[in-house]
Point group: C2
Chain length 435, copies 2
C-alpha cells in the first residue's frame, strides 16, 4: 500500500475528544505531512446531532449521523472510535477491523470488556488496533511499555490513573474539607461526572490497570478478578494520620507479578504512599505511573491523564503510527502471546495495612481488638486513639506489620463482628513498595 | 528482507555497556524472539584485549580485536557501537552505515559531534541509526519525543541529564559537605570518572541537550553555540539559600523555542528549581526530563540515566526496533527536516537570576553594587548578607527580577570590576518555568 499518497481519516464521535483531534490534527497537519511524506485528510466524521454548534468548523458535507457509515466507508483508511461506551463503539470497531482497517481508540472500557475479541478481529482481517489514549491520556505509557521497555519483565507497575480521584484527594488534603463537599464542587467544575461512581469506586482505574497488565504480561485480567476499592470512605482523620507519618493517600492501580511462580495480581485501592515516592507528589488531575523493569529499574511517567488536549495528543500519535503502518508496513510489536499467567491467591498478595475503627469508648476495648487481630495472625505495628465525632466513641487507627490480603480480610471480618466496633473498619493499604 | 529468519547482531566494544547488552539480550532472548517471530543471534563482538576476564561468557570464536571487522561483516545485520569516543566509533559507525546496515549507538558525544554526517550516511545507503541509549539511559525519551508526542511543538524542554552531577549536588545538600569532598568520594565509589570535567563542567549534559533539541526542533545546535556552565563553584551557602527559599539546585539542560519568531536556545547551567516541580525532587543518580508540548501540556519522565543495566535496556529497545525495520520495513519516523531555526540572541533569553558575591565588609558597598546592577538595567528583587569565610569580608546573595542573559552578563562584568567585590560573582539561574 506504499503508493498511497493521501490517508483518509474518519472520526466516529465528534464530542470533546473528537473535536480536539480534529482541531489539533488540522493545526499539526503541515508538520506531520512533511514528516510522513503523505497527505492527511479528515475525510468524514459522525455526530449525534447534525445541528449542534461545535467549537471546530467541520463542513456539513463531511458529517453524518451514522458512525457505521464512517467505519465502513471504503475511502477511509483509519477510523478513530471516539464514541465511548461498549455497545455502539464495539460495533463500529469490529465493523472497521473486519474490513481490514486500522482503528484508533481512546476507549478503555471497550478494550477492557472486549479486548480479546477486538485483537482477534484485527489479526483475522489484517487490521490493527491502537489504543495509546486509553490509559493516562497524553503520557505515552503504552508505547513505553510495549516498545521502549521491551527488554524488561515487570515485577511491579503502579500508578495514579484517574484524574478525578486524584483531584478530590488532593483538594481534601489541601483544604481540610470532607469528601462530599469536594465531590460536589468537582462536579460543579466539570472535574467529576454527574454519575461519579465509575471514577470514585475505582472501576475506571481498574479498566486502565487491565490494559497495562495485558501489555506487560499478555494476559487479560477481568475487573471481577481484581481487588477494587474506591475513595468514598476516606476522611480527614485518614489524611491527617497519613501526612503525620510521611504518607500521601492516592488511589493506585497496582500490578504485581511474581516471576518465581508466574503469579499475577491486579488491584485498585487507596494507598498510603510514602512522600519520598515521586508519585506521592503527583497532585490534582495529574496521572503518574511507576514501572519497575528487571533491567532498567524504576522509570516514572507523569502528565495530564485526561481532557481534550492530552487525549488528542495520544490519538494523533496513534494516527501517525497507523499511517506508518499503511505506508511502510510498520506494524507495532505484537502484544505478547497469552502466557500461562495464574492469578495470585490472596495469601500471596502481601503488604502492610492501615485500619481505622470507630469503637465504644470503654475499658477492655483495646484488648478485644488486639485479640481479634492476633487470631487472624495479623501483627499490629502501631495504634493511636483519636476523638470520634460519635458520642461515647473513640477512633482507633492501627497499622500492621507485613501481612496478606487473606489474613487482613479475616481480621476485618472479625473486627466487624465485635460489639465494641461501631461500624465496618476502613482498610487502606500502605504502599511501601520496594520499587 | 522479510524472509530473514535469523538476525545477526554485532557488538563493537564489550565494556560495561557491551557486556550488559550481551547479558540481558541472552536472558530476554526467548521472549523477544517470540514477539518478533525471528531468531536473534549474537554473532560477533570486538574487544580491545582478547585475554581479559569478563563477567559474561562469550565464546572465543566470536571475539575479535577489530571493530571494523564486526561493523563490515556481511553476516551482521545490526551493529551496536558501544566503543565510545568520537574517532574509532565514528569510523565504525560510518563503515556500517555505508554498507546499508543498521547501527545502534549509546554514544552522545559522537552523535553531537557528527550527527549530520551520520544521518546523511544512513540516508544515502538505506541504513538506519538508532540512539535511544544516548540520552537519559533507560528512560525511553527519544521514542517519546519522536513518536509518542509527535502531535506537539515543544516550547520548553528541561531536564537533569547527568547522573554524576545530580549525585554530587544531592549529597552536598544532604550531608552539608563541600564540592571537593563529595567529588573525591564519588570518584572513589565509581560515580564520577577519574577525569570528571566532561560531567561537572556540563559538557555531557550539553551533548544530550543537543540531541534532544535535534529531535524536538530538527536543528543541530553545536555546544559552542550554547550557554554551558558547570557545578564546581556551588557551595553550601548557595544550597542553604535555595532550600530556605523553596528551591533545589539542579544542573539542567534547558531548551526553549519561541514559536512567534522561531528562535531556539539551548543552555546548560545549575538552576534554582522550585521544590514544587517534580524534577526538584529527582535525586542521586536519577535523571528526569520535563517536556512541555503545546497539545499535551507537561509530561515528565524519570529513571536511571546511566549504568550498565539502564543503558542496556535502551540499546535492546533499539535493537528490537531495528529488527522490526529489517523484518517489516518499520523505519522510524524521520527526524524533522532541518527547519529555519535561528538561535535566540542573549537579550531574548529571559529569566530570574541568583548572584553570590564576596565583598569587602565596609560602608557604601551595598550602594556600589546596587548602582552597578541598575546601570546594567537589572532590578534587584532581594538581597541578604551572610558571613564570609574570608576575613574582613561578607557574602551577599542577590536575586533579580526578570531580566535576560545579555543584561545579567553585563551586570556580572560590572560587579567583577568593582574594587569592593573580591572575586567574580557566582551566577545561577532561577528556574521558575511556566511549564
Amino acid at each position: 500500500m506504499s503508493q498511497l499518497s493521501t490517508i483518509n481519516i474518519g472520526i466516529c464521535g465528534l464530542g470533546t475528544v473528537g473535536q480536539g483531534v480534529w482541531k489539533h490534527l488540522e493545526s499539526a497537519r503541515a508538520s506531520l505531512e512533511s514528516k510522513l511524506g503523505v497527505k492527511l485528510h479528515l475525510h468524514r466524521a459522525s455526530v449525534r446531532d447534525l445541528k449542534k454548534k461545535r467549537a471546530v468548523r467541520v463542513p456539513a458535507t463531511r458529517l453524518t449521523t451514522d458512525p457505521l457509515a464512517v467505519a465502513t466507508d471504503p475511502a477511509v483508511h483509519i477510523v478513530c472510535e471516539l464514541i465511548g461506551g461498549t455497545t455502539l463503539a464495539r460495533e463500529v470497531t469490529l465493523a472497521a477491523l473486519r474490513l481490514g482497517k486500522t482503528v484508533v481508540s481512546a476507549n478503555k472500557a471497550l478494550l477492557c470488556a472486549h479486548g480479546p475479541e477486538i485483537f482477534a478481529a484485527a489479526r483475522a482481517h489484517g487490521g490493527h488496533f491502537f489504543f495509546e489514549a486509553s490509559v493516562a491520556g497524553g503520557i505515552p505509557i503504552i508505547k513505553a511499555l510495549r516498545e521502549g521497555l521491551v527488554a524488561n519483565r515487570f515485577g511491579l507497575i503502579y500508578g495514579i490513573l484517574n484524574g478525578t480521584c486524584n483531584y478530590i484527594l488532593t483538594r481534601m488534603e489541601r483544604e481540610g474539607l470532607g469528601y462530599p463537599a469536594i465531590l460536589a464542587d468537582a462536579k460543579r467544575l466539570g472535574y467529576a461526572e454527574a454519575d461519579e461512581s465509575l471514577d470514585v469506586e475505582g472501576w475506571d482505574t481498574a479498566h486502565k490497570a487491565s490494559i497495562l497488565a495485558y501489555l506487560a504480561h499478555g494476559a487479560w485480567v477481568p475487573t471481577r478478578a481484581m481487588l477494587v476499592e474506591g475513595i468514598a470512605a476516606i476522611t480527614q482523620a485518614d489524611l491527617h494520620f497519613a501526612r503525620e507519618h510521611g504518607y500521601a493517600i492516592k488511589l493506585l492501580a497496582v500490578i504485581t507479578r511474581d516471576f518465581a511462580n508466574g503469579e499475577l495480581f491486579v488491584r485498585v485501592h487507596p494507598t498510603l504512599l510514602p512522600l519520598t515516592k515521586v508519585l506521592a507528589n503527583v497532585n490534582d488531575v495529574q496521572n503518574g505511573i511507576s514501572v519497575n523493569g528487571d533491567v532498567v529499574g524504576e522509570t516514572v511517567y507523569i502528565g495530564r491523564g485526561a481532557g481534550q488536549d492530552a487525549t488528542s495528543s495520544a490519538v494523533i500519535s496513534d494516527i501517525v503510527d497507523a499511517v506508518l503502518l499503511l505506508r511502510r508496513g510498520n506494524a507495532p510489536l505484537p502484544v505478547p502471546v497469552r502466557q500461562h499467567c495464574p492469578l495470585a491467591p490472596l495469601e500471596r498478595v502481601r503488604g502492610r495495612y492501615y485500619l481505622r475503627l470507630d469503637v465504644k469508648d470503654e475499658p477492655g476495648v483495646l484488648a478485644k481488638i488486639a485479640t481479634a487481630t492476633a487470631h487472624a495472625r495479623v501483627s499490629i505495628a502501631s495504634m493511636v486513639q483519636r476523638p470520634s465525632a460519635r458520642r461515647g466513641a473513640a477512633t482507633l487507627i492501627l497499622t500492621t506489620h507485613e501481612s496478606n490480603e487473606k489474613a487482613i480480610r479475616a481480621t476485618v471480618a472479625r473486627l466487624t463482628r465485635l460489639a465494641c466496633v461501631l461500624e465496618k473498619p476502613l482498610l487502606l493499604r500502605i504502599g511501601d513498595f520496594a520499587g
